[in-house]
């Protein structure tokens, strides 16, 4: 069979349009990347080889920082409002509609119920000293918050975000609080680390 040589013509394609589209895509992804919600406390989580990803919604986060302060938060503005109403009636504290609105915008908080109104009304919330939610058996506010959160949204998954230097004592108290409410499956939030080679 004879080789038929097809005369090749060089094609110069104008790539400008493609470039425009690429930058449009880039802009779209940058803008739709969700902002991390501002946490009142910086928690340095320990590393683990587990690579199961955290689900995006319906999560209840209990954060424990290096000074063993306990912070609590759930996602979903509507659920936060309902949870606040239940807790307010538990502890007989009244909240104005403005305060309820402020609360529904807070991603997490760590103050006893007595100081919650002050926190909500504070002008500079970042500077407000948040001492953590009480977890001692004498006054276990965390158990009420968790129970009310689950009434507001039964699908909530419990996650614990502990700092590397948090003392296990507080973590144990938190886990006991959860077990008392028959919550036995929880997720511990960790950073990813490579699986070491095991001989």
């Amino acid at each position: 069979m004879g080789k038929i040589k097809i005369p090749r013509k060089s094609i110069a394609l104008d790539m400008t349009a493609m470039c425009d589209m690429a930058f449009l895509l880039l802009t779209f992804f940058i803008l739709t990347a969700q902002m991390k919600p501002q946490d009142p406390v910086v928690v340095d989580t320990p590393a683990s080889i587990s690579d199961t990803k955290l689900p995006d919604k319906d999560i209840l986060t209990i954060a424990i920082d290096a000074q063993s302060r306990v912070f609590f938060g759930i996602d979903g503005q509507f659920d936060r409002e309902k949870m606040l109403e239940f807790t307010a009636s538990n502890y007989k504290v009244g909240f104005t509609p403005q305060e309820i609105k402020e609360f529904s915008l807070m991603s997490s908080f760590g103050v006893p119920i007595g100081n919650l109104r002050d926190l909500l009304n504070a002008k500079d919330r970042d500077k407000f000293p948040q001492m953590g939610i009480p977890v001692d058996s004498a006054n276990n506010e965390l158990s009420k918050w968790v129970a009310n959160a689950r009434y507001a949204n039964p699908k909530l998954r419990i996650t614990i975000k502990g700092d590397v230097n948090a003392s296990f004592d507080v973590v144990e108290k938190v886990m006991n609080t959860l077990q008392d409410q028959n919550i036995n499956k929880f997720n511990l939030i960790t950073d990813l680390k490579a699986k070491p080679k095991v001989l």
């Binding site: 320990p46 080889i49 008392d180 511990l188 960790t190």
Partner: protein, 160 residues
């Protein structure tokens, strides 16, 4: 007026080939897409048994297959096998420490059971690292339980 010498007056085409620019743009898009999925935090699942005060419901476990780890302050891990008068040793979280002990158990015992107890002075990091070691060394049966006064005594008496 002096003239600029353009070197022969050749007409240079002003067409720019955009192909590398497009490559760059797609690289950036891919980079951002991947890093935003990577900075989602990972989770470690932890299942606890139901809390029960009823002693009879607590499962009986074979002593010979059980290793108990007691997490203490300063990243120390005390460990012993069995329940009757055990020999308590201490190790740490380095590669030659706990992992070596656990690997040896995994190799010599079929289906080893590890019971993890932590003292109040232990750090959360220690607990997470131990549960991680379970996953790394392949111990399938393990449990995080409350430390007992007997364990505290054993650890206090240990010569380390």
């Amino acid at each position: 007026m002096a003239d600029l010498d353009t070197g022969g007056g050749k007409k240079v085409s002003t067409r720019v080939d955009m192909t590398p620019m497009v490559d760059l743009a797609f690289l950036l898009v891919t980079f951002f897409m991947l890093t935003t999925t990577f900075n989602k935090p990972q989770t470690m699942e932890l299942n606890m048994p139901d809390k029960t005060d009823d002693e009879s419901v607590k499962q009986k476990i074979a002593e010979s297959r059980t290793t108990t780890l007691v997490l203490a302050e300063n990243n120390k891990v005390y460990y012993y096998t069995g329940v009757e008068n055990p020999q308590v040793n201490v190790t740490n979280f380095s590669e030659t420490g706990l992992r070596k002990v656990l690997l040896q158990k995994v190799r010599t015992i079929k289906d080893p059971i590890v019971v993890i107890k932590a003292k109040k002075e232990a750090k959360y990091k220690n607990v997470v690292d131990v549960i991680d070691e379970m996953a790394i060394t392949g111990v399938k049966i393990y449990a995080l339980v409350k430390i007992t006064p007997e364990d505290l005594e054993l650890v206090a008496k240990a010569p380390f």
